[in-house]
Symmetry: C2
Subunit: 349 residues, 2 copies
């Protein structure tokens, strides 16, 4: 078998390889069902005003600085629903463990799931447990799937967009218009660098905690401010994948300034040491917003009043005079930001 | 660590070990949310008339006689929703693969998913793909989660139960009443024996196909007949686990006759050869029904008119003068049917 005929780590890494796999193999499942269906390649779907999303979590190590696989499993699916504008209400929890997995670790994970679900105000309503023979699975995999409903705050927000565009009823990339401001809710790269520094044998340590957190309550407050065209969390593939996605799906260009991207000093140092691109790092507690310019100030103000949005800042805008994603570098030049072929680190989520 | 402190294969095998794990570890997640929540320990939950269910599939081999992991993944979740009385409409699909997994196998699985989803008339609306390093996962795990709505046929069916009981609005064990007939929709054990005979190195071969199939359309037809108090599919833990579940949750006894349980000759021979208990074998295309006696004949007639219910038969009844599950054996004796400690075969689903 040639390399073309097998699944590689890149096929699960949130970049161009994964997008090709989805388009070439999974798109045959698409039957254009629902208001936002599989064809949108978004992180959630909408069926009769119910938002539905799923994610499997394979992160390693299972306990890391700032979080664990349990907190990640709840936050990941809650955030996917919230990014669509939905209000997550219930999650399913399916756990697959390796024979010999310590019961005490399972209990710690379940405690973390409980705590995070309470924080997000979502309910775990059904579940499934499977066990695989020793040696056939590395420790544990968790899947959460979730449903959300349509909050009144979303209706209000969509109404604020009506004067200058015909928006979808949901937060989707086709809502973007030239002039929209690109806002990130805080520092970039914390999750991926935390995971890396929690791994044994990497030979570097950084005092960085993962940002993993449920963002649904913050999102409801932002929708109440209004002017939000789309929201997305920069997980696998990071900012680079997210912005390319927006550019492709909206048919518009995106211009960002490197110096405006908030990055912790420890993360910047780690990135330089490891030779990675900050734009490709994954995050689990950040949202990127495309905001109508007249709402920029109010959205930033609301973000700054919340611990999860304390370091929010505008990093760029949507433009029609350019195509793709262009970044103005700190030294004043410009460079195209391509879609990453995939996250450089396996099993970050 | 002692054996008590680690997860064993039995913890995922659908019997008493798994029930203890759920009660001791996962029940702390329960917050009594929803009409049918986690506390019911059912295969699906109900939130605002939306049925939600999840299952991860780890079956080995991934292609077996009569089916494959793709067909199983769709049928399993569709059936869990249908057993609650729900009408499944949309599924999510989350796949975790091992690095090196053949793309051609993935394509075969996705084709099978597509075909089975069409057969069940459900839509795959969202998904997730992850890849683990070679050696850290045996081939592939699939999670499907699904939502269903409340079909008018369920309202009709519940109304047929109103004269002699105060039923739940859904198909749940507390609907059972003394005198209800226990009906199985066909031959028992086909799935588990097919899986075993598809495995290398077991040293026996049986010409038995798995019964794996979506049962939702059959269930809607049965609800239209009426008189159905509860329905459940005898998957992991088989008939023994299912009937004990019904007995425990309804507080009633169940009496069945061994000679009335439909079993294929090849399955009976395999069970004797392998020293297994037919009551503990898992099925993936069968439903067990508790039916109000005045509807027994019509339900059986409807079942016999459908290829999936061709060999349906009454195997017993609900009684208040006994407790637990008792089986009249072929030689005329009686024996208690206990809850199995778990399926004897790992990774049957």
């Amino acid at each position: 078998m040639s390399n073309k005929d097998i699944i590689t780590l890149l096929h699960g890494a949130g970049g161009s390889y994964m997008h090709s796999l989805i388009k070439n193999v999974f798109m045959k499942l698409n039957d254009n069902y629902g208001e936002v269906g599989l064809e949108m390649l978004d992180d959630a779907a909408v069926i009769n005003d119910t938002v539905i999303s799923t994610d499997s979590f394979i992160v390693r190590p299972i306990f890391f600085k700032g979080g664990d696989i349990g907190r990640l499993s709840v936050s990941g699916t809650v955030n996917d629903i919230a990014m669509m504008g939905g209000n997550p209400i219930a999650l399913s929890l399916a756990i697959v463990m390796e024979e010999g997995f310590p019961l005490s670790d399972l209990e710690k994970i379940v405690d973390s799931i409980k705590k995070t679900a309470e924080e997000a105000d979502v309910h775990i309503v059904t579940g499934d447990t499977k066990v695989m023979e020793k040696g056939s699975l590395d420790k544990i995999i968790i899947n959460t799937s979730g449903i959300g409903n349509r909050p009144p705050q979303l209706d209000y927000n969509i109404n604020t967009l009506r004067k200058n565009r015909q928006p979808s009823r949901w937060l989707v990339p086709t809502n973007l218009r030239p002039g929209d401001k690109i806002i990130v809710s805080g520092t970039i790269g914390d999750h991926e660098i935390s995971i890396l520094s929690s791994r044994e044998g990497i030979g570097f340590e950084a005092n960085v905690k993962s940002d993993v957190a449920p963002l649904n309550k913050l999102m409801l407050k932002l929708l109440e401010v209004g002017g939000i065209a789309d929201a997305k969390d920069p997980t696998r593939g990071g900012l680079a994948d997210l912005l390319n996605d927006w550019s492709e799906k909206s048919g518009l260009g995106i211009y960002i300034k490197e110096e405006d991207i908030p990055v912790r000093e420890e993360v910047r140092a780690a990135v330089e040491f490891l030779g990675m691109d900050i734009l490709e790092l994954s995050n689990e507690g950040k949202v990127v917003l495309a905001v109508s310019p007249e709402y920029e100030k109010d959205v930033l103000e609301e973000l700054h009043s919340d611990p999860l949005g304390k370091y929010a800042t505008t990093i760029g805008e949507v433009r029609k005079d350019i195509s793709g994603v262009i970044m103005e570098t700190v030294i004043g030049g410009q460079r195209y930001v391509g879609r990453p072929i995939g996250s450089p680190v396996p099993r970050i989520c």
